[in-house]
Amino acid sequence: MSTISDSIKNRPWIGWVLFFGTMIIVFLLGVLTYTIIENRTAGQFAYVSTTDLDPLEPRAEAWGRYFPRQFNTYAQMADTSFQSKHLGSQRRDLLDQNPRMVILFAGYGFSRDYNSARGHTYSVQDVRETLRTGAPMEAGDGPMPATCWTCKSPDVVRLMDEVGVAEFYSMKLSETGHEIANPINCATCHEADDMSLKAPLPALSETFARLGRDIETASHQEMRSLTCAQCHVEYYFGEDNYLVFPWDEGMKAEDMAKYFDDRGFADWIHPLSRAPMIKAQHPDYEVFTTGIHYERGVSCSDCHMPYKTEGGMKFTDHQIQSPLNNIAASCQTCHRQSEAELIRNVYDRQDMVYEVRIKLEDALVAAHLEAEFAWNMGATEQQMSEALHLIRHAQWRWDYAAATHGGSFHSPLELTRTIGDGLDMAHQARRKIATVLAEMGHIGEPDLPDVSTKQLAQEYIGIDLEELRASKDKFLEEIVPEWLRQTAERHERWEINRRSDEVEPGNYIYPGD
């Protein structure tokens, strides 16, 4: 047997292979020890507070410098590829999918344009782009107040701090377009110094105070839902467009309906049936609190922001999304069933609620059109008043169920109860209208228009989509770039990781300065 020494003497390349081979092994060993050390160190410093962030810092990137894992998962909300059976994270034209809603929302912005919601990172962009916000070419123009921005950006809290809460609400959306730039992010839920949870938007804490509860006393687990309840709730614009949650009588559909009835409040008068309507926003928190998961102490974040580990670091997944896209971490943390079974359980509930919801929708569309038919025949207000009150209440109950995100899973029982209530009212309304028609001598089915597609329905209620779209495009091309330019200028003035503005100091500069 020849020795290595001999082999190398004869063929020197063997020596070089051995030399570099050992080098690679030593290198890999080095990498291994490095990862061990890194993981060990990560374990010791799972959370160390090192920020000197401004408490009102509205830029996610500035926070992200200290919390890269949270920031990276947050940024993944830009991904809109996930699609579940009924919704998902992409923008879908709900009117196209379900033209009944054009008739139900006739006379109101939602009959022009109603898209399914995308992730938080799109909040500001989607408000600019929807046809509901119009095309304000001058500051102060347009149909919407600044209140519409409230839930869309941490710039709102910054601005409220600067100009005052009531003053902010009394402005127009278009007046503040250049100020509201950063989508919902870190500052919407977190304190800057220790990252504890907070609810800086005033409406929730004001409502709590009105009802005799102090939000400061909420536990961490409660805050893991209440931060969401700053926005994912039913609300309305009160005097001077001041944002209010109508929870004084309770959080169920009939409780809030009573609240609105007592105040004689209507969002709009339906142009076909002339019923005074209430638009439900998205009573997600209210519906969730009637469900079994809430009852068992589960918070929104437990399923929508499950824990995640990366190497040694445990953190909450900030890609807030449908748990259907992450069954393992969301559901199987507690439930032992297979993924397929859990998905089926969710879809069953959604399908069943959807089934009755559509029945109510059909009844409501018929009720609106039949009421219109009755008015055209010369019905009097006295004859119609009862039917209109029923339509108002039936549609409110439908909307309470339809507008809530995930409600058919959060609380299928409560929603079917609410929809059932609405279905009863809608049919009562139709019977009243039939009686009115009979009193006027019309017997049998009234002659109703064909509103079976989005286009037909929008034409029937007189919406010129082309024109709306054209003015919106003009607004997006001419006004929005100017807003973005002013935003970039403002951000330019601030330090990269800490907001401090010498040109417009305001009264909100980081107290350490």
Binding site: I8, F19, I37, P306, Y307, G311, G312, T333
Partner: protein, 196 residues
């Protein structure tokens, strides 16, 4: 003796290669020794539950066990490694340990962490091993992993769902628990020197 000499001679490099080879071999052994120490390699021979939180992703599992009645009677290894003989036990420890180490090093820890098939077989057998006396007249006390696959019974924890780690799995169960993760590998005198 002559044989050993022959083997040694086989590895001895040519004279002009000796210096670089000595240096590289030194580097190899040095870094290997370092890896041995920082990975707490010796601790893996023991049954101390603290060994399992060498990788702190196991923190919640440690914390939930620590607050369970099993803490007084069973360590991690008592349930999660075979107990029929030493060779089987250490073979299982080695293969399972390498699998865990690979997952941990590659940052692919699943959430939640769940037992795979081999682990379930072992734990089921160990439930029955200790609770033998109470289960001797109960047929369900003799169900194995294979029985369950054939639909002829349930695993122990299908009913005793909270034993011993609680009903909530992984990080969500005890997100902020303090567990005995390894201390800094840096000797104190060195830290004192560098902290100055």
């Amino acid at each position: 003796m002559a044989r050993i000499k022959k083997i040694l001679q086989f590895f001895i490099p040519p004279p002009n290669w000796r210096i670089p080879v000595i240096i590289l071999t030194g580097a190899f052994f040095g870094i290997a020794a370092y890896a041995f120490i920082v990975s707490n390699a010796v601790s893996y021979m023991s049954d101390d539950p603290a060994t399992c939180v060498n990788c702190h992703v196991m923190g919640p599992q440690y914390a939930t066990w620590f607050h369970s009645s099993h803490r007084e009677h069973a360590t991690c290894n008592d349930c999660h490694t075979p107990q029929d003989n030493l060779i089987k036990q250490y073979y299982f420890k080695a293969t399972d340990g390498l699998r865990h180490a690979t997952i941990f090093t590659l940052n692919t820890t699943p959430e939640p962490i769940r037992m795979h098939e081999a682990g379930q077989r072992v734990v089921q057998a160990n439930c029955q091993r200790c609770h033998d006396h109470t289960n001797q007249f109960v047929t369900s006390g003799h169900v194995t992993y294979d029985h369950v696959q054939e639909g002829k019974g349930k695993m122990c924890w299908d009913c005793h769902r909270d034993v011993p780690h609680g009903t909530v799995r992984s990080a969500a169960s005890a997100p902020n628990a303090t567990v005995p993760v390894p201390k800094s590998p840096m000797p104190e005198w060195l830290r004192n020197l560098t902290d100055r």
